[in-house]
Assembly symmetry: C2
Amino acid sequence: MEVSLSEAAQWLKQQEDIAILCHQSPDGDTFGSGSALCRALRRMGKRAQVLCSDSVGKRFQFLFEGLEEQQFTPRAVVSVDVADEQLLGTLQPIYGGKIQLCIDHHPSNTHYAQRWYVNPQASAVCEILCELIPMLGVELDKTIASELYTGIATDTGCFQYINVTPHTHRVAADLLEKGVPAPTINHAMFSTKSRERLQLERDALNTVEFYRNGDIAVISVTRKMVKETGATDDDTDGIASIPRSIEGVKIGATIKEKSDDLVKVSLRAPQPYNASEICAKFGGGGHPGAAGCAIHCGLAEAKKQLVAAISGYLDTL
Amino acid sequence: MEVSLSEAAQWLKQQEDIAILCHQSPDGDTFGSGSALCRALRRMGKRAQVLCSDSVGKRFQFLFEGLEEQQFTPRAVVSVDVADEQLLGTLQPIYGGKIQLCIDHHPSNTHYAQRWYVNPQASAVCEILCELIPMLGVELDKTIASELYTGIATDTGCFQYINVTPHTHRVAADLLEKGVPAPTINHAMFSTKSRERLQLERDALNTVEFYRNGDIAVISVTRKMVKETGATDDDTDGIASIPRSIEGVKIGATIKEKSDDLVKVSLRAPQPYNASEICAKFGGGGHPGAAGCAIHCGLAEAKKQLVAAISGYLDTL
């Protein structure tokens, strides 16, 4: 059943030994809201633990500083920023069907939990927690505020995206007043690239191709490039925004070769173009601004099919 | 003499035929505050004109939409975001010594005007105008709000930098409520690169060199690279942040070959490192985070001298 934020807070107050579940391929919002909620619950004298199917990468380790592991059998299970149980990864077989409270902001949330608070107006779950944690009677100190800021900053591309509302900025103002080291967090989140990522970027820039008078830009990432640069999935995810960033480009595509007969496609589109409509033709989906799909063939053939589909889409506008 | 913001507003109300001066190498803040103030004064029934020694680049043209030129002999002269008269470029010989009001946020402002309002706590002059324009009795509508948002966003790296205060975020919230198309502005300001810039980036990434176990990263931009890619000064400015963005780098340097015996150096440093201390050794300067200098020799020799100076600086810490 759907619950209000104060009902969610009331319920949390009554729980003990709480597992907080994050989604797989974790980002700043699922980890930031997880660690902030965990700290808040511990300050209330409860045992709480953040769980995720993936390990905490170097970039996000600061969120868990001082949150030493607690051993207990969960008596309450909460998920943060998890739109669907499938996104729990290896935690799904353990906690699937047992989640008692879901706090989320995805409009696509599948209401898999016993109770859910889903606010699609919130830029991030961390924006929701700025209101929820004080309802628990816990003050937003510098540490918790920094975690919440991290989730909001990462989910909004540092206040760049369409999900930013006046409320998002006002919440950010309140968080800065708690002493959040925002420039340091932002440098780590947005301005730091691994050497591998930089090498991959250079190699990928060599592959840029334009179609339809520059309406479409495509970059290709081959298995060879990934192997030679030592780039991780995180590194390849980061370059998906490059083709769209080129002046005049309406649809930007990044094609990643996964095997001889599988490529993964990331599409990015500025307003008013709709990347998810194109990906739907290949059985994929996403948001209008960012979408993805898989094509079961080799890189060259996939590129041909994709460019044809994008051209067809643009022709209908 | 120093004036309060309301004194500045009172003075402006009494003026007619106002020239608004921007600094050379104009950015979003000098143009955004210039066009917003110009619109506000025109709405009050006055004649007003924005002047700049440089032309308005494609990226900023939207700021001047509908502000058709007015011909008049200025009877009042105001500067916005101009720290020193020297920064007026070709306007300096005409208006030097004649500026009656300066509105600025640079702590280094040289108080060259007859009256000045300088607020170094403001992230941007546009942040100041969010308060000043309503004092003139002019409402911040969508157009003016968009111009003010542009200046704040560009001067803060979209709310990333150390100059962002809680007040900055609160002002941004108020502007969004006026209907500012923030995602569109942000895409144009931060996520759009020319093809030339992209090619230069690729070529520059090929030159990355590391020194002192990765503490120092240097990229080199040769005249040949600039010529082959057709990159502009704006394009080369944009890549100066790349070396600093590499994981672990303490000082990032970009060396641009200007002639056989002149190179220009851009240094970038995260806190607590101080780029301007190093540039001072070569007669340059700037801020701790971003500084520059010229070295009168060839590219290879300049690189040697620079790396030695940076190593020497890091050794003393």
